[in-house]
């Protein structure tokens, strides 16, 4: 899993480049998101458009990021979910927790509106 980070208008964009987000790499992603919030970021987008497969550990990493956002008085949103990973968010009722945008551009734009 390659984790790319960028910044646009004060919003950090984390792009996960890799087919799978699972128990093999979820800790790495979880740590990266935590580091970003601990370094002072308040607004974070995690783009999952390249991720074709997500398991419960991957979902757990996203939940961890969401909790980090809350504890740092920030906001974390997701973008670009493919249909099958999205079905796992549905199954675990996480679609009612996360704000999910069609693509990274829409997710980044949502911070400008608030």
């Amino acid at each position: 899993m390659k984790i790319e980070t960028g910044e646009a208008n004060g919003v950090i964009l984390i792009t996960l480049i890799g087919e799978r987000l699972d128990a093999h790499n979820s800790d790495e992603v979880k740590g990266k998101v935590r580091d970003i919030f601990e370094s002072g970021a308040k607004s974070v987008v995690v783009d999952l458009s390249e991720v074709r497969f997500i398991d419960s550990s991957g979902l757990g990493a996203m939940v961890s990021g969401f909790k980090n956002a809350i504890s740092h008085h920030g906001r974390l949103v997701l973008s670009g979910l493919q249909a099958q990973p999205r079905s796992m968010f549905d199954l675990t009722r996480l679609t009612r927790v996360f704000e999910i945008f069609e693509n990274a551009e829409a997710a980044l734009g949502s911070f400008a509106e608030k």
């Binding site: 087919e19 799978r20 699972d22 128990a23 093999h24 497969f53 398991d55 419960s56 550990s57 979902l59 757990g60 990493a61 939940v63 961890s64 969401f66 909790k67 099958q84 079905s87 796992m88 199954l91 675990t92 009722r93 927790v97």
Partner: protein, 141 residues
Amino acid sequence: MSKNTIELDINVPNQTRYLSLIGRIGEDLARELEKEGGRRETLAYHLNTVLTEAMTNAIVHAHDGDPEKTVHISICITEDELCIRVFDQGQGFDLNSIPMPDFDRLEEHGHGIYIIRCLMDTVVYRRLRDHNVLEMWKKLR
């Protein structure tokens, strides 16, 4: 073994890096099932998920990440159903004592068995003499 039965027995080191290999094998097998028709891609994703969750359970929980151990996986597909068995040499657990996740509490862990139960028809965990087995069945249409 009947002519339409597929049986696979796989042993891999107790390492999460093999999750994708086994998940891919599950996907490829599902794509071989003519009977499933248009549902094949969904079944492929579900088998990938179930194999990944069950293997993670064996690697991380039952074997405590010990890289010296191995995980044994068996997959059997007949005309009407498929069965995945994942064997471990851990302490074992009571499947019935695992609660439904509390969705209001936003938990990071504890969704693996729930996901397996959602995607398969029957899930059983048996303690045998020198190992345990998580057995997961699904009827094919």
